[in-house]
Amino acid sequence: MSGDRFERLLSAYLDGELLPEEMAEVRAHLDGCESCREELESLRATKQLVGHLAQPVLPSNFAAGVWSRIERPAERRWFWWPRPAVALAAVVLAVILVAVPLVRGHLDRLKAAEVGPDLFVRSYAPAAAEDPFADRAFITLITTDAGLRLLGEDPRGLRR
């Protein structure tokens, strides 16, 4: 083991947190390495300094403060929603925003289709049956800015 590797083990050695064989290796190394012994001592002194920090005194109104936090009326409560709730709300909103125009557009298209060809066929078919050779009907699609429109000669005109 290199000196560097030993150096890294010194903290854990100090805490007795090495495997037994590692403890023995470090101990053997320390016998012959003055710089590692010094390092170990400085770490030990540091650990003691930190360990001797005074226990801070709990403020006397600590428990009362906990209760007042618990009872405190909610501030900016929406902000404190649990994250899953926020995520769910966002997903629902996104679905609504996408679904509403889709469904509405689809309904509009259905409606438009209902009026157009259906009306045409219903009124044209009986006339064509009556006089198959006078079939002057035509059907055309006109595209304008406002949408699609079906045009055709009104089959009822045949009766004229």
Binding site: T46, L49, F62, R72
Partner: protein, 195 residues
């Protein structure tokens, strides 16, 4: 509001309220001590520790009686502390053991020598303050390990499970933390040797 009704004092039985009060009495000092060492001042420590108990209150029914809560408290305090740092963006946090990036590479950070106020040093509170300041110079990950190991006296395995990191990480963080503290506290050790 819904949440305050749900978690108000009335929402628990008197037995549960008594159980919670016992938890505050039993763990309050300990939780406050960790929070104090993490935050470095009374006001923030109180905030952190009290908020930790509010979290416990909200989860009271999910906590089994007799469960080991210490690790849980440590984790709550650490997370709250890190959250509180995120909510205070004006304070820019930099670990003093991190090098300073420059255009041409990294240079070690320069900092005030704690030995300058040697003459003012007296045992007790000043010493305490200087050790605490040295702790605050560490990044919160390193500080937490030192607090748990050297102040709270936990074993590496316990710390690893409290912080949710492998034991090897605890080992290396503690070593890095102690080396940084050792350098920072060298003047104090010197003074103590001379007494």
């Amino acid at each position: 509001m819904a949440q305050s009704r749900e978690h108000g004092r009335d929402s628990y039985t008197p037995d549960e309220v008594a159980r919670f009060e016992a938890l505050v009495t039993r763990h309050g000092r300990h939780v406050y001590a960790i929070a104090y060492r993490m935050a470095g001042n009374e006001a923030d420590a109180k905030d952190l520790a009290q908020e930790a108990f509010v979290r416990v209150w909200r989860a009271l029914r999910r906590i089994e009686p007799g469960a080991a809560l210490e690790g849980w408290f440590h984790r709550i305090v650490t997370n709250l502390y890190i959250d509180s740092l995120r909510r205070r963006p004006k304070v820019r946090l930099q670990s003093l053991d991190e090098p300073v990036p420059t255009g041409t590479g990294e240079i070690p950070r320069e900092r005030a020598d704690p030995a300058v106020d040697v003459e003012q040093t007296v045992l007790g509170s000043t010493m305490d303050r200087r050790v605490q300041d040295a702790l605050l110079d560490l990044s919160e990950d390193l500080r937490m390990v030192v607090v748990l190991a050297d102040i709270e006296g936990h074993a590496y395995e316990e710390i690893a499970s409290m912080m949710g990191v492998p034991i090897g990480t605890v080992k290396s963080r503690l070593h890095r933390a102690r080396r940084a503290l050792r350098d920072r506290l060298a003047p104090i050790r010197q003074e103590l040797r001379q007494r």
